[in-house]
């Protein structure tokens, strides 16, 4: 029998099991991705999967690799924000599939203020947060007061915001293309400051304070969730709505607040990406930004833990960026979307994986004691 003093074995710790389950999801996702590559063209499959996994290491010269490492990091920071957004809402029992729309609104507001009004970066960042937050709040209020399924409302809001943002940003696009005007030439004050970080990555100018900020915010989310009264109330609302209500918590306010915070996080993510100047928004975009959906993958892969999310966001962005290095004559870069989708699918089996691990460990111990 287990006594109280007996230490839990390594494989019985919840953290270890989460990491093991996530690794299993990654391995299964990569394996199936590899099989798909094999089916398309057996000759280049091995090379393709390694270039996806290598991403920036694809470049043999260390300084170039370092520069592209910086770019991957610069794109991981926005993804981390979307991941945190989804994770935060999920802790309260809400599935924030609207992260893409909140992200789009964040991009729209920050770019519009930057290009049309020449606002400095901090104003743009705050506007992006407010925009995303309001949109998230709408979804939360619809759920709290009118019982609208937040997933369906989120999807509808995604499309509405995508079309609205396209309309808004058409006013500040380049004359000859569908892309918004470049920040560097038109509104340099709106670019996020690099604070010397860019020198660490072979002068990659897309490396900005967004990266350390994103990590700090992840830590902040963890503290709010685990160490504050607000976080406790939010988690309680997520675990049992009626119990939270009975205990005197304002469950409706909590729901709206959660979605507003989640929305603000996604909006901030968009500001982190577009205000670094690494990408321009295409006003002819007909698909909602993938960042919000990749955030779902990263949130579950990270075991719904803010600190785990830092690693999972980097990994998802790493393979997404890596997808652009596959041989385009044989494969398409969407292969990495396929791999992340498979990873999300397997993430829904995490509970099952964990219970299997628990059982296996339990059996092992019984045998050992006798």
């Amino acid at each position: 029998m287990n006594t109280k003093n007996e230490k839990k074995s390594f494989f019985e710790r919840a953290g270890v099991q989460s990491v093991a389950a996530s690794l299993l999801c990654i391995i299964l996702g990569l394996l199936i991705g590899y099989l798909v590559l094999l089916c398309i063209n057996p000759a280049g499959a091995g090379k393709a999967i390694t270039s996806i996994l290598k991403n920036f290491l694809y470049f043999p010269r260390p300084e170039v690799a370092l520069e592209y490492f910086g770019s991957t990091l610069a794109k991981s920071a926005p993804l981390l924000m979307c991941t945190l957004s989804i994770l935060f809402a999920y802790k309260v029992g809400l599935f924030n599939i609207g992260a893409s729309g909140q992200y789009a609104v964040g991009a729209g507001l920050s770019l519009y203020l930057a290009l049309a009004h020449g606002m400095p970066w901090y104003v743009c960042v705050i506007a992006a947060m407010i925009g995303g937050g309001v949109l998230g709040g709408i979804a939360g209020a619809l759920k709290a007061y009118l019982n609208v399924n937040e997933v369906i409302a989120g999807i509808m809001l995604n499309w509405i915001s995508l079309y609205s943002v396209n309309m808004l940003l058409t006013k500040v696009k380049e004359a000859s293309t569908t892309y918004t005007a470049a920040l560097r030439t038109n509104s340099p004050g709106a670019l996020l400051p690099g604070a010397g970080l860019n020198h660490l990555f072979s002068d990659n100018r897309y490396v900005t304070i967004a990266i350390p900020l994103a990590i700090l915010i992840a830590a902040g989310v963890w503290i709010v969730m685990e160490k504050t009264k607000l976080g406790f109330e939010l988690r309680a609302t997520g675990l049992n709505l009626n119990a939270a209500k009975y205990a005197g918590m304002k469950e409706k306010r909590n729901m709206i607040l959660t979605m507003a915070i989640a929305g603000a996080l996604s909006g901030l993510g968009a500001a982190f990406l577009y205000l670094s100047g690494i990408e321009q928004w295409s006003c002819a975009q007909t698909a909602v930004p993938a960042m919000g959906f990749n955030g779902i993958a990263a949130a579950f892969l990270g075991g719904l833990n803010p600190i785990g999310s830092i690693f999972s966001s980097f990994f998802i962005q790493h393979i997404t960026s890596g997808g652009s290095y596959v041989d385009k004559m044989i494969y398409s870069s969407q292969i990495s979307d396929l791999i992340s989708a498979i990873i999300i699918y397997f993430c829904s089996f995490v509970l099952f994986f964990k219970s299997c691990m628990g059982r296996a460990v339990g059996k092992g111990r019984k045998g050992g004691n006798r």
């Binding site: 995604n158 609205s164 959906f293 398409s332 979307d337 992340s340 999300i344 699918y345």
Partner: protein, 313 residues
């Protein structure tokens, strides 16, 4: 006017088919948020049939395309069935994964197929200009009655009868309301839920092929189906999970979707000088408003979304 009617009916057929699919799945107790992905897969199945069996004569082409899309839809919906029923996975998460997976897989597949034929063709499109003609039943002036409209209407009647008049349908609904009670009188809850999800795969797949052949004769799979699976879910909620009401709801939503295709033909609408984007947004805005108005007294099946646990009371 004829065009508006035609587009309304064809989009209503799509929404009707997919919403009925969602209806079967939810009545059995499984929330199917993966309908969007199932539509993409069904569309892919149908498009492949059109591409590789282009010489089939009229009615055989119709049948083959339907079988192709139904097959793809059903097989793909197994992903949800296995995860949600066998492994008691979170249905929202599985559905989301299926939507992303459907789009990514279809894109990768079609691109690989196109590239294998012609190295320079990196598009994710399939064309079916000639093949599409097989779906036209008759033409009255500008209005073209499609086979799919007739089939959708027939399936509406069939769904109503199956759900309310047959032993199977009533048992299926029992599993979505109170699976433990259903189990206690000897109904195999697992099997019923499988049936519900697979039927939704069938109808969703069919809806997918109707959608991509509705207005165009070429489909770019990178674009997916633009939230139509979720619009169908809104139709289903507005229709209170009842086939008859779903039929009416689908017509209403179909009308708003059709407006974005044909608004330029109406003087009254062009006089408003609204950008076309507004019409693109319209179906989503309407569905959000309708959801806000009608979700309060939801008649959703009681046990939907909850994995069946024999020991639970």
């Amino acid at each position: 006017m004829a065009l508006l009617l035609q587009y309304t009916l064809i989009y209503a057929s799509v929404l009707l088919l997919v919403a009925l699919g969602g209806c079967f799945s939810e009545h059995s107790g499984v929330i199917n948020l993966g309908l969007e992905g199932i539509m993409v897969m069904g569309a892919l199945g149908g498009a492949l049939v059109m591409k590789y069996m282009e010489s089939l004569p009229g009615i055989l082409m119709l049948l083959a395309v339907m079988i192709g899309s139904i097959l793809f839809g059903v097989v793909y919906s197994l992903l949800l069935a296995v995860a949600a029923i066998q492994f008691k996975a979170d249905q929202t998460l599985v559905g989301t994964a299926m939507n992303l997976l459907g789009m990514a897989a279809a894109t990768v597949f079609v691109k690989a197929m196109n590239m294998a034929e012609n190295v320079n063709n990196v598009s994710s499109s399939i064309q079916y200009i000639e093949q599409k003609k097989a779906f036209s039943l008759l033409k009255i002036g500008k209005f073209e009655l499609s086979w799919f409209m007739v089939i959708a209407a027939a399936l509406l009647v069939v769904s109503h009868i199956v759900l309310y008049k047959t032993r199977f349908g009533l048992r299926l609904m029992a599993c979505g309301e109170h699976p433990q009670a259903a189990d206690s009188v000897g109904i195999n809850v697992c099997r019923m839920r499988y049936a519900g999800v697979l039927i939704s795969g069938m109808l969703g797949g069919l809806g997918g092929i109707v959608y991509i052949t509705a207005g165009v004769s070429e489909w770019k799979f990178e674009n997916g189906v633009a939230g139509f699976g979720f619009l169908a879910l809104a139709v289903m909620i507005f229709g209170q999970w009842k086939p008859k009401l779903i039929g009416i709801a689908a017509l209403l939503f179909g009308l708003f979707r059709a407006l974005s295709n044909v608004y330029s033909g109406f003087d009254a609408l062009t006089a408003l000088h609204l950008p076309s984007t507004v019409y693109n947004m319209l179906p989503y805005i309407i569905s959000l408003v309708i959801l806000a108005l009608f979700s309060r007294n939801s008649r959703a099946p009681k046990a939907e979304g909850i994995p069946y646990d024999k020991g639970q009371r």
